[in-house]
Amino acid sequence: MRHEALITGYFEGTLTAEQQRTFEQLIGADADFAREVEFQREVRQAIALSERARLKQLLRNREQKQHNASPRLRWWIGAAAAVLLVVGGGTWLWLRTSSAPALYAEYFQAYPNTVMPTVRGEPSESTVQAAFQAYDQADYANAEKLFGKLYRDTQEPYSLLYRGVSFLELGRFADADSVLAQYPTDAPLYAYACWYRALALLRLDERKQARGLLEELAQGRTTLGQTAHELLSRL
């Protein structure tokens, strides 16, 4: 790679004033150089999002663990279970015998925000920021509306995916299905749209359709493909 030292210095923050000038000149004059810098900036963004999501999960798990260890909470779980057994015994039996909702509950996990890191404190000036802020704050009713608007305004496929997942979170499975069905097959993240649509269909007890999508996914060699394969074997 040409000018590798300059790019490294840029990311390390160690460019001298003169190097900084050369760097800026190259950005304007050399398209390959500009593309490479852009690529590495995207890499930085992608890694930051992955790491933040991982750390957030780590801390959430920590919290969960502490909660589970707290006797007060255990008491609540016991009480909730008792109420469930007495009042919702029928529902509970139904959940146990009909495995689709149970499987759904086991496999569903909201897709992480991989598009826009929302840092609290930044005002949401655009629909896209507002939508992801709502999504990150689990305000799915708002997120669903904002992603709907975003899709009408921009036709960005990812807005369909996030709107679909918001619908799932809201328990609106038929809406999730119809939104995710619109996801273009050639867009990135299509596999995820498939996966969430399969879960929506599963929850609607449309097993045949869900199975079709999962089979399509299971052919891929991604981690998602493996999960799809596993779920298929349990259907």
Partner: protein, 178 residues
């Protein structure tokens, strides 16, 4: 301040145990401190988690090296800022935020193509451990190549450089056509 320097050293070692230690150390105090704001306790916990992550990122990037206040004060001012902006946003309460420094997100960049970032994120997960470590240290933790060389035990900086280039190339290949 001895305790602080121990915590900071732990944070800089970037181990998961270190971040959990910080998380546990100040949680109760933070929740007590934040109880005066009208937010649900789940929301406060959520904010506290984000504040700890910001603290952790800043520690990695060496931004706490010249810290004048204690770690706790720093963490609480990050958290307080997040609470106030959340309150302001939900318009539940009108609060003045003049006394609090802005915490801009350096990594946020409007020009970045969002879908490419999403596929890069997927690609990153598919890389081998060594590549992920090198790229994470360099791009996320802001470590210089010299520091990475020392930490990962490369005898030659050029070997590390070409390894890093290979990792980037692999990432490009993985996300090609997406």
């Amino acid at each position: 301040m001895e305790k602080d320097s121990v915590l900071l050293d732990g944070l800089k070692s970037s181990s998961d145990r270190a971040i959990i230690r910080i998380y546990d150390a100040y949680k109760t105090d933070f929740i007590r401190f934040a109880a005066r704001y009208s937010l649900a306790s789940e929301e406060l916990l959520d904010i506290y988690q984000d504040a700890v992550i910001v603290l952790w990122e800043h520690a990695q990037q060496g931004r706490l090296d010249a810290l004048k206040s204690s770690v706790k004060t720093y963490l609480f001012s990050v958290g307080k800022y997040m609470i106030l902006t959340r309150l302001k946003k939900t318009a539940k309460q009108q609060v003045l935020t003049d006394d609090i420094a802005e915490i801009p997100d350096q990594l946020h960049d409007e020009n970045i193509h969002e879908e490419r970032v999403a596929s890069l994120r997927e690609g990153f997960q598919q890389l081998g451990d060594q590549c992920r470590t090198i790229l994470r240290l360099f791009y996320y933790e802001g470590k210089k190549l010299d520091e990475i060389q020392a930490r990962l035990g490369y005898t030659n900086k050029d070997v590390l450089k070409s390894q890093k280039s290979r990792c980037l190339k692999q990432l490009k290949e993985l996300t090609k056509g997406k």
